[in-house]
Structures are given as structure tokens and as C-alpha cells.
């Protein structure tokens, strides 16, 4: 070893800032100083690391100079500054503390994660934008299939339509029929409605004729009935702009199920109200034939209203059934002897034929609506699965705000978490299957409300992610528990009507009321109807001037047949499965509707 500087003297330290100053690059010849600077700059090290490297390189060159080497030669011997900087950086990085390495790995992982996420989102967005829904069926055709098969001469709807068009009632008179005549009218009220009914004879006759036809035959679509619109506009005092006629829908069009217009409900409701008013008039005038015809017509309309199949159709149908039962129970309370035995028996058979809660409700229409939603928003892989599409996003946006059907690009990202088509289909139809099965379970045998069909679906939406994932279902799912309550309550009311008929027939035969409902079985009733509250026989008490037939109501407390005196309590008592208590002890009185034990 020649010209080697001495290495065996001086104090040691583990940093260049020891008690003796390290050689600074500034003390080197310019070309070497420049080289050190370049290496340091390219190394991108921490300040303390740079000063360490600077000191070491400066010492290195100082040693070289001290041994007699020329600066230019030292620079050549050193090698490429760029690759030196790179290697020095690599070596120094390995010397960094553990926390830095951990942080660095975390940073790299984060960057990798972000890149992977962006890649994933990008691919998903491309798939989202290029995906196209495929329309496999036309929901209008499916919904109208049954109605179209009915011959024109067997369709009730054309007669109902005619009945509405020939109805000569102003708004106030229509409101009178809708709001004031829910119970037997007083003499004064009767005087008020009599001329109104006289003017409506033709409409009433057409309605009864329509009710005698085998099916409704209403053809649903996306356009309104211009003639009916004009009639409503005229009756309403021609307020606002006159309705505009729209071109009728062609069979080539395939428009969505959700915007199908069911324009027949409002006219049919009006006609049922008219029949109800005429039934009360018939009671007042002791016209048993007209009363029977009207109640029969309302029951027939209840059956007709089940088509086209949709939950709303079934709810309207149930409402008509309830009206028929109320009118008949009011007739039995006010004029027990009005209807003949055969008329009562005939009506009893008609009420009984309305079936159970499961017969009253069908969820088939909702299934069609939902499947149509899926075919318009998801791709179809031919095996029932698919992914959400940009067109689907536009469809959803248009549903939310028809005036601005532009789907925001955020759908491309949020659709990542949306359930796929099969999942959505299975969850929705599964919930409907459970709800349909539940309709066969009587209210007193129902599990706790938290275990019911609707509740189990709501439970699955507890997390924010699930809410987004199944957003479409939460928007489109009908209120299943409400449908159950409406249907089972209608069955209870229908059973109360049948019991009231049976009691009246018993009274005529034995010239006295039965002391208990047991006396009616089996001659007048196959079995005593059971109370929705607890599954025990409906409650029956004799009182001055008659009897009271009642359910304990949702509170399951026997108040002795006293009816609730406010609307809130009346509503609460009908909501079986809930725990709210009425403000005063009360029951759900089914007969008589205006009864002698009322507070």
C-alpha cells in the first residue's frame, strides 16, 4: 500500500459532526466539488444523510489528493455520478430506521391500493358505460293479457266509463258522496242526497249492468282517457288548462311498468260511492231489491277491481269489499227485517266466496313491476344475472326527477356496490314469497313483528353499504306488513258481516237473539269466526235493543264492547301486531257500527 494516509490516530465518533470538523466539499477543487454536489443532489437523501455522504466523499477525495492523484483522475476513478447517487441512495435507504421502512411500505401499499382501486373503478366504469339492458318482455302486454282475452261484450269497464261520462254531479256533490255518506244518513242528509240520486239513475243502472259482467276488461297503458279527463275538468269547474289528448300507445312501444296509468280506479271509486249512497237510500225507502242489487254490485266490483294485477288493485278491491260489508251491517242494524231470508242467504254466499286474506292479496303484479325494472336497468347474461348500466342509471334518475333525467357520473362508481341482478331478484322475490306465505298465517299466530317478512328485509338494510346495495328494493318494495293488516282486517269485517247475517236468520227462526254465538253453529255458520286479536271466538254481548259483536282490537284488552271515540284510537285498535294503547279502554266494534254502547 503506497501513499496511504495515516489511519491510526484521532478520536472516534459515529457522525461527521464529531469534535473534529469533517472535510467539507467546499474545500475540494471545483470539479470534485461539483461532482460531490451532483451526487448529493441526485441522491435525494435526508439532510443528515447527505451531510454524512458529503463528508465521506470529501474525505475520500482529500485522501486521493493527499496521495498525489490529480483531481481529474479522481473524478474518472469515482465513476458515473448518476449511478453512484442511485446506489448510494439505495444503500442509505437500507440504513434508515425501522419506522421509516414500515411507513414506506405502508405508503407503497397505499399507492398500490389506490392504483388498483383506480384500475378497478376504471374497468368497472367502462363496463358500466358499455353495458346495455335487454328488454325481454313488454309489461303492458303482460298486464293486459287477461283483459284483452275478454270479449268486448263481457267487459264491465266500457259501461263504468259510460256511467261516469253520464254522471251529472258537481264537485260538491261528489264530495258529499265521498265524505258524508260513510254511515246511514239522517233524514236531513237523505233529503239532500235524494235529488242527487234521481239525477244519477242512468249511471247507477249502467254501473249495476257493468257489475253483472264477468270481468272488468280494463286495458292499462301509458296514456290517459281524454274523454274522462275532459269530464273531470268540466265537473271541477274548468279550472286550469284543458286536458290535452295524447296519441294512443302502439303495440310496438315497450314502456316501463312503473309509469303504467291505472286510470280506472278513480271512476270506479266514484261509482261505488254512488252505489253506497243509493244503498242507504234503499234502506231508507225500504227497497230490499235495490239494496240487494247494490251490495251485490259492490261485491262484484270488488272482484273485478283485482285486475289488472297489482297491489294497488287489490287494495282497492278490499276497500270495495269493506264498503259492501258496512252497508249490509248498517242495513241489518237499522232495518233488520228489510231483507228476506233468501236475500240474506244469497248475500252471505257472495261474501263468503271472497275467500281468505291470501285470496284477497296477490303480489304477482309487483313481481312484474320489479322484473321490468331489472330488465330496464341491468344487463342480461341469459342466466338471470347482469350488472347495472348507464342506461339504468338514467332510468333511475328519470324516476327520481322526470324533468332532469341526466344520470350523474357518480352512478358509475356507486354502481360498484349495487347488488347484481340475480341477487336483487332473489332478495326481492324472496321477501314477496315470505309475505305471500305469511298471508296464510292468522294474525294471532304471527311471529313477533321483528321476525316478519317485511322486518327481515328491513334488518338486512341496517348497514349503510346494504342500504346502497339494495337501494332499488327499498324504493320499490311495497309496505308488506300494511298489506297484511289491510287484508286480515277485511277478512275479520267480512266474517262479522256473515255472523250478523247468521244472527238475524237465527232471530227470525227463534224469535229471539242467541245467547251465545255457539248457537249459530252449524245451522247458520260453519264455525264461529275468530278474533284477530287472540284467535278466540269473536266477542258477542247482548244489550238493550240488540247485541254487540266485537274484536278486542290490537290492545287485546276486553272493554266490554265499547267502541273508540276518536279516529286515532279506532285506527290503533285495527293495527294488530303493534303495542300502542288507545287513550281510553275500547274495542273494535264490528256490529252495529253505530251501536248503543258507544260512550
Amino acid at each position: 500500500m503506497t501513499n496511504m494516509p495515516n489511519s491510526n490516530s484521532g478520536a472516534a465518533s459515529f457522525g461527521p459532526a464529531g469534535k473534529s470538523p469533517a472535510v467539507s466539499a467546499a474545500s475540494l477543487p471545483p470539479d470534485l466539488r461539483c461532482l460531490v454536489d451532483r451526487v448529493l443532489k441526485k441522491s435525494r437523501l435526508w439532510r443528515c444523510e447527505r451531510s454524512d455522504v458529503e463528508a465521506e466523499l470529501a474525505a475520500h477525495f482529500a485522501d486521493g489528493l493527499a496521495s498525489g492523484a490529480a483531481p481529474a483522475q479522481l473524478a474518472i476513478d469515482f465513476g458515473n455520478p448518476a449511478s453512484a447517487a442511485k446506489l448510494i441512495r439505495r444503500g442509505k435507504l437500507r440504513n434508515r430506521p425501522r419506522w421509516w421502512h414500515a411507513l414506506n411500505r405502508a405508503r407503497q401499499a397505499a399507492v398500490l391500493g389506490v392504483v388498483a382501486l383506480l384500475l378497478f373503478v376504471g374497468i368497472h366504469a367502462i363496463r358500466f358505460y358499455i353495458g346495455q339492458p335487454t328488454l325481454r318482455f313488454n309489461p303492458v302486454e303482460v298486464m293486459n293479457r287477461e283483459s284483452i282475452a275478454i270479449p268486448e261484450s263481457s267487459r264491465a269497464w266500457p259501461l263504468y266509463r259510460q256511467a261516469i261520462l253520464s254522471l251529472d254531479l258537481n264537485d260538491a256533490e261528489r264530495n258529499l258522496l265521498a265524505d258524508s255518506l260513510k254511515n246511514l244518513p239522517s233524514d236531513a242528509e237523505f233529503a239532500q242526497i235524494k235529488p242527487l240520486l234521481e239525477r244519477s239513475r242512468r249511471s247507477l243502472e249502467l254501473t249495476r249492468q257493468g257489475a253483472s259482467r264477468p270481468a272488468l276488461g280494463y286495458i292499462a297503458g301509458h296514456t290517459t282517457d281524454h274523454e274522462l279527463d275532459m269530464k273531470a275538468w268540466e265537473v271541477g269547474g274548468k279550472k286550469g288548462l284543458a286536458p290535452v289528448a295524447h296519441p294512443s300507445e302502439t303495440s310496438e312501444e315497450n314502456r316501463d311498468a312503473i309509469s303504467i296509468l291505472l286510470t280506472h280506479f278513480s271512476p270506479m271509486r266514484q261509482l261505488v260511492r254512488l252505489l253506497r249512497a243509493d244503498s242507504y237510500a234503499a234502506i231508507h225507502e225500504e227497497d230490499s231489491r235495490r239494496l240487494t242489487e247494490n251490495v251485490t254490485a259492490i261485491l262484484a266490483m270488488s272482484v273485478q277491481a283485482r285486475s289488472p294485477d297489482a297491489i294497488i288493485s287489490r287494495l282497492v278491491s278490499i276497500a270495495f269489499l269493506n264498503v259492501a260489508g258496512e252497508v249490509l251491517r248498517d242495513a241489518l242494524a237499522a232495518q233488520p227485517d228489510l231483507l228476506s231470508d233468501s236475500q240474506l242467504r244469497d248475500l252471505a254466499h257472495r261474501f263468503a266466496s271472497m275467500g281468505s286474506a291470501a285470496d284477497l292479496v296477490s303480489l304477482q303484479g309487483e313481481r312484474i313491476f320489479f322484473d321490468d325494472f331489472l330488465q330496464r336497468t341491468y344487463t342480461d347474461d341469459g342466466n338471470g344475472d347482469g350488472r347495472f348500466t348507464a342506461e339504468g342509471a338514467r332510468y333511475l334518475a328519470a324516476l327520481a326527477d322526470p324533468s332532469d333525467p341526466v344520470a350523474p357520473p357518480v352512478y358509475a362508481v356507486s354502481s360498484i356496490v349495487l347488488a347484481n341482478r340475480k341477487d336483487l331478484h332473489d332478495v326481492y322475490h324472496g321477501a314477496l314469497d315470505r309475505a305471500q306465505a305469511e298471508l296464510r298465517v292468522p294474525p294471532w299466530q304471527l311471529p313477533e313483528s321483528s321476525e316478519r317478512a317485511g322486518a327481515s328485509f328491513e334488518r338486512s338494510l341496517e348497514t349503510p353499504l346494504a342500504r346502497v346495495k339494495y337501494e332499488a328494493i327499498s324504493i320499490l318494495m311495497p309496505a308488506l306488513s300494511r298489506v297484511y293488516t289491510v287484508a286480515t282486517n277485511a277478512v275479520l269485517e267480512r266474517d262479522a258481516t256473515l255472523t250478523a247475517i247468521a244472527i238475524e236468520l237465527y232471530r227470525r227462526n227463534y224469535r229471539s237473539l242467541p245467547t251465545s254465538l255457539d248457537a249459530l253453529v252449524p245451522s247458520y255458520l260453519p264455525a264461529i269466526p275468530l278474533d284477530n286479536a287472540d284467535g278466540k271466538p269473536l266477542r258477542f254481548v247482548l244489550c238493550e235493543g240488540g247485541y254487540v259483536l266485537y274484536s278486542l282490537g290490537a290492545d287485546r284488552q276486553d272493554a266490554g264492547g265499547v267502541s273508540a271515540q276518536n279516529q286515532r284510537d279506532q285506527t290503533l285498535l285495527r293495527q294488530f301486531g303493534r303495542t300502542s294503547e288507545p287513550t281510553q279502554p275500547a274495542d273494535w266494534v264490528l256490529f252495529p257500527r253505530e251501536h248503543p254502547l258507544a260512550r
Partner: protein, 125 residues
């Protein structure tokens, strides 16, 4: 003779460890010694040596420390200055022993198949 880069990558660290096994040395001294003792075969640019030293340091085989050298400065302006010296750690000694065994095995193997005719590398002789 210049050694191929890949071969140098394996031989360089062992050579440095072997030199430091004898005594502590600083960078310039290592470069010069390697060039002189191997007839330039293992001569490496400083741009290779210093990163190698940092790597060996990071692996715990050597440790560097600053020490006053007591020589004249770069400009010959007199006075003491610091140098960074490196010395072998216990871990480095174990590694050197392991590497030496492996190099002996490789050398024997090379001899056996006639790649080399005699032991060509002998440090610390």
C-alpha cells in the same frame, strides 16, 4: 483483468469483509488496497464501493464511525480532519466465514471441472 459485473457483485462484498477482518479501514484505503492486492482484478470505482459499504452496514456486517485522521487537508492547508472508518462486526465475521467456505467450494468445483488450474483468489495471505 476486469471482472464481470455479476461476478463482482458476489466477490466484492467478500473481498471488503476480508480486508476489514484484518483491521479497520476507510473508503479510499479500501479502494486502493483492493486494486493493489488483486492486480486490479477487483478494482472498483468509488461509485460502487461506497454503496456497497452502506449496504454491508445496513445488514450489520460492518459499522462505520468517524475518527480524527491527523493528516493534512485536501488543499494541503494543514490541521487534522475526520475520516469515516469501517470495521467488521461479529455478525460480519460469521458472514465472512460462511462466504469463505462457499468460495472455497466454488473454487474447488471450478478446479475439478478444469475451469481454473489453481487457487486464484487468496486474501489475507
Amino acid at each position: 483483468m476486469k471482472i464481470e459485473r455479476e461476478l463482482m457483485r458476489g466477490a466484492g462484498p467478500v473481498a471488503v469483509l476480508k480486508l476489514l477482518n484484518r483491521r479497520e479501514m476507510y473508503g479510499y484505503e479500501l479502494v486502493e488496497t483492493l486494486a493493489e492486492r488483486t492486480d486490479g482484478a477487483l478494482a472498483m470505482g468509488q461509485s460502487t464501493l461506497y454503496p456497497m459499504l452502506y449496504n454491508l452496514e445496513a445488514q450489520g456486517f460492518i459499522e462505520g464511525y468517524w475518527k480524527e485522521a491527523g493528516t493534512k487537508g485536501a488543499g494541503g492547508n494543514g490541521g487534522s480532519r475526520d475520516r469515516k472508518y469501517y470495521r467488521l462486526t461479529d455478525k460480519g465475521k460469521k458472514r465472512l466465514a460462511e462466504d469463505s467456505r462457499q468460495w472455497e467450494a466454488v473454487t474447488k468445483a471450478m478446479q475439478a471441472i478444469g475451469v481454473i488450474s489453481s487457487v486464484a483468489f487468496a486474501f489475507g495471505a
